[in-house]
């Protein structure tokens, strides 16, 4: 991401990169000199020179933009001028598209331009889950409302599901992985190293200079990640960011390791979202990220605690009743705060992408808020609680609905989630 710089800066940068490739004593070629034809650089050296410049300048598309142009310094400066002009126009266009009240405090806004989601390929009925955990058949369906759960196949992992969702998101707007400035990953089950974001970095073949960051928060992870991405874009340090959530609970919360009342609720899934500083590449799907707010209601911290025990098992403390009460109360409060802060009536939203501890609680939450349950995409009912990816899968479903031509005027989207702690967060998206 290039912040607007003066001409002297670019001249110095180009000269320095050229000498790194051609040698410190090499004379600087004339501006229009064809660097390859005149032998100043061979084709390998030319690409290497461009890669150095891309890395130093932050203009990641420099090489592509120089395709079908004379390989000369003049062409390079021309492309730099063009990208700098585009950057300026982008900022002005983006700010102009915002409500007047937002302009003075917005440097550059983040737009969500595409999404993807993936769930484990193996569908298991809730009765089979009951049996596996030694519970009476029908318990999960009756108590939690879960009909089936998506489990990862043996070859599916957080990386594979996350990459699958990421590919969907990138391909749907023909965004090349090389365009990404950051990958921000979150999930509550990936425990090894390299971290999930680092593995995604390799799997997606992004540029080496693309940063990779993992954020925590368990089920609140998606909102944390979106808020971080928004901050990076607003500060001008990134133009294109991929946010990925991925959770494979079925390998951690196994029968014999945890109680079925807890472990049986969870499924495996992933989601991915592409954020850009401008929405021009996919105006039909662009959603502007509104404000995010967060907090931690420590009084409920004891309702759920998960820790490694010395014998290698998971030590899970799960007070289902207390957690359900806290979840409903807090989610309702968060969503009412979203309504208040955004000035958007909850009745007008296209959908609510919220955490879904289980389908029963979603139904209860909808009732408390006076909203039809259809506003909450059915994720937990068919796939189980997907951890950080529940909110992501729900958001993806709402965005897919927004793309449906039958959806005449897609409304705003509310986001709300919770994490152990009891962490909470909310935010909203409005149509760009």
């Amino acid at each position: 991401m290039g912040v607007i710089k003066d001409q002297d800066y670019w001249v110095r940068l180009v000269e320095e990169c050229f000498r790194r490739e051609a040698g410190p004593q090499a004379a600087l070629p004339a501006p229009r000199q064809d660097l390859i034809e005149t032998g100043a650089l061979d084709s390998m050296g030319w690409v290497s020179f461009l890669r150095s410049l891309e890395s130093a300048s932050g203009i990641s598309q420099l090489g592509t933009l120089l395709t079908q142009r004379t390989p000369s310094l003049e062409s390079i400066f021309q492309v730099i001028r063009e990208t700098q002009t585009v950057s300026t126009v982008d900022v002005l266009d983006t700010v102009a598209s915002l409500p007047v009240s937002s302009r003075d405090r917005t440097q550059l806004s983040a737009f969500l331009v595409s999404s993807g989601a993936a769930v484990g390929s193996r569908t298991v009925s809730s009765e089979d889950i009951d049996r596996a955990f030694g519970m009476p058949p029908g318990k999960l369906r009756l108590r939690a409302g879960i009909e089936s759960v998506a489990y990862a196949e043996e070859n599916e992992s957080e990386l594979l599901l996350g990459a699958r969702a990421a590919h969907q998101s990138l391909r749907s707007v023909a965004c090349g992985a090389q365009e990404l400035d950051w990958i921000i990953a979150t999930g509550e089950t990936h425990r090894g190293y390299p971290s999930l974001s680092a593995q995604l970095h390799s799997q997606l073949l992004v540029r080496e200079t693309c940063a990779a960051l993992d954020v925590g928060g368990a089920c609140l992870g998606l909102l944390n990640a979106l808020a971080v991405a928004q901050g990076l874009i607003a500060s001008g340090r990134a133009r294109t960011i991929l946010v990925v959530t991925s959770d494979v609970h079925s390998r951690v919360l196994r029968p014999g390791k945890v109680a079925g009342e807890f472990g049986g609720l969870f499924g495996d899934g992933a989601s991915a979202f592409l954020l850009r500083a401008v929405a021009s590449s996919a105006p039909q799907l662009g959603y502007l990220l509104g404000e995010f707010f967060f907090g931690c209601a420590g009084q409920y911290a004891g309702a759920i605690r998960v820790a490694d025990s010395p014998n290698g098992n998971l030590d899970v403390h799960f007070d289902g009743e207390a957690l359900s009460r806290a979840a409903i109360t807090r989610m309702e409060k968060v969503l009412l705060d979203v309504e208040l802060r955004s000035g958007i009536a909850r009745s007008s939203v296209l959908g609510l992408a919220t955490h879904q501890p289980n389908p029963r609680l979603v139904t209860l939450l909808a009732k408390q808020l006076g909203l039809p349950t259809e506003k909450f995409p059915s994720v937990a009912r068919t796939f189980g609680n997907l951890g950080s990816s529940t909110c992501g899968a729900a958001l993806d479903a709402i965005l897919q609905a927004a793309r449906d031509p039958l959806t005449k005027k897609p409304g705003p989207i509310f986001l709300a989630s919770l994490g152990p702690g009891l962490l909470f967060g909310g935010g909203w998206l409005t149509r760009a």
Binding site: R20, E21, S43, M44, W46, V47, S48, L50, R51, S52, S55, G63, T64, L65, L66, T67, Q68, R69, P71, A163, H167, L170, R171, A174, C175, G176, A177, Q178, Q199, S202, Q203, L204, L205, E208
Partner: protein, 236 residues
């Protein structure tokens, strides 16, 4: 007389380098026919999958290009093998799953990330591998590939020298294709390319080493299967 299944045709400047598979008892190995005076062919009217009859004489090519053989007379096409079958044979030839196995030596990278092998260390100059993901991009008129091997190791910015893919890109950028040719091609490479190539059941690549240049052999993407189809040009 030797039967050679043509698997590589690479564009190196104005000439072509050719590699084929030769069966030797139970083994299948790569052989690179060269002329007595040059490593490449200015004219090579054959295609991948062609089975050619030729006469090859041993040649003490310098390491790591141990596959070199001198062709002592012209080629004669005998038959052709479909693309999936070519891959079946390629999988029986030189194969690797990790960077270290590719050319039997450690690989190094220069300041800007280009990968190379040191000629005395490398034990061969061509090898097949399976990729978890692969991306092509244009950079200043050059086609470059970045890929991740099944070992999870990444190779960045390899020059793509596959004749058919280079020709495809040239055709996509031809003036008679109208406006915005570069962004259109870029869009194809970022979207449909993935569906067409990575989801192809016989997707396969072969990597090669350049001749020593300033005492280093640089990695290249020699072959990317499936080969591009002309009708894909109508899709973007």
């Amino acid at each position: 007389m030797t039967k050679l299944l043509i698997t590589e045709i690479t564009r190196m400047g104005p000439a072509f380098c050719v590699i084929g598979l030769q069966r030797e008892k139970e083994k299948i190995r790569s052989v690179r026919p060269v002329t007595a005076t040059a490593n490449s062919w200015l004219h090579f009217p054959y295609h991948r999958g062609d089975v050619l009859q030729c006469d090859l004489a041993p040649f003490s090519g310098s390491k790591p290009h141990i596959e070199d053989r001198v062709s002592t007379r012209g080629f004669q096409k005998e038959s052709a093998v479909p693309e999936p079958e070519v891959v079946t044979f390629l999988r029986k030839a030189e194969m690797a799953e990790s960077l270290r196995e590719l050319f039997g030596c450690a690989l190094h990278e220069n300041r800007s990330g280009g990968a190379f092998a040191k000629p005395p260390e490398a034990t061969r100059s061509v090898c097949g591998t399976v990729t978890q993901n692969l991306r092509l991009e244009l950079c200043g008129d050059e086609l470059r590939a970045t890929l991740v091997l099944s070992s999870g190791e990444v190779l960045r910015d390899l020059p793509v020298v596959d004749r058919d893919w280079r020709n495809f890109v040239d055709a996509a950028l031809a003036e008679n294709r109208g406006a915005n040719r570069v962004p259109r091609l870029e869009r194809f490479l970022n979207s449909q390319f993935h569906y067409k190539v990575l989801s192809c059941p016989h997707h396969f690549i072969r990597l090669g080493l350049t001749r020593p240049y300033h005492e280093l052999c640089w990695l290249m993407l020699d072959t990317l299967i499936p080969l591009p189809k002309h009708e894909w040009l109508e899709e973007f």
